[in-house]
Amino acid sequence: SQTIHQWPATLVQPVGSPLSLECTVEGTSNPNLYWYRQAAGRGLQLLFYSVGIGQISSEVPQNLSASRPQDRQFILSSKKLLLSDSGFYLCAWRPDRVAEAFFGQGTRLTVV
């Protein structure tokens, strides 16, 4: 069976520090991978998606970047965090174009 792992669950980082959130999927190959940010009143905002290794599409210009160094690994990064980067970050995967997304447990990021 397929599983998705996302870590850490919570993170408190100072302004200006770097960020690296990791997501891995097991039990499947060539999944579509997604990073979302959930904020009150804004729902799930699609940040990045990837349909293959090294292929990253950005939806929202911002202080973040994403990378897919391996087929089932998706990383969300920042060189210097801003206060506005605080939020709940969710990783998700889809096995193919018609399927629903399966979500990780999320990371609560607080920038102080």
Binding site: N32, Y34, Y36, G41, R42, G43, L44, Q45, L46, Y49, V51, S57, E59, L90, A92, R94, R97, V98, E100, A101, F103, G104, Q105, G106
Partner: protein, 111 residues
């Protein structure tokens, strides 16, 4: 481009009453439609999905949704809600690559 509009940010309803949560979408390509639920302090769970075929789809927990292509809508309904249905509900539209969510509707069920 794809987008999803959930006009109601919050819907209060009494227990055992019917409820409808509205969802409208826009897309230039054929899409697939989903409803997810997020209970307090939990992750997202799929309620139901429309891929093709019958426009009325049934999901878990007694929920159903109807796909209306002419009105580009995919409203979620339940004939009688329970206290335990209190949660946030998200409509989503998917294509080959992207999966875009709406801003969510908080369903508040009171006794």
């Amino acid at each position: 481009a794809q987008s999803v509009t959930q006009l109601d940010s919050q819907v209060p309803v009494f227990e055992e009453a019917p409820v409808e949560l509205r969802c409208n979408y826009s897309s230039s390509v054929s899409v697939y439609l989903f409803w997810y639920v997020q209970y307090p302090n939990q992750g997202l769970q799929l309620l139901l999905k429309y891929l093709s075929g019958s426009t009325l789809v049934k999901g878990i927990n007694g929920f159903e949704a109807e796909f209306n292509k002419s009105q580009t809508s995919f409203h979620l309904r339940k004939p009688s809600v329970h206290i335990s249905d209190t949660a946030e509900y998200f409509c989503a539209v998917g294509s080959f690559q992207k999966l875009v969510f709406g801003t969510g509707t908080r369903l508040l069920v009171s006794p």
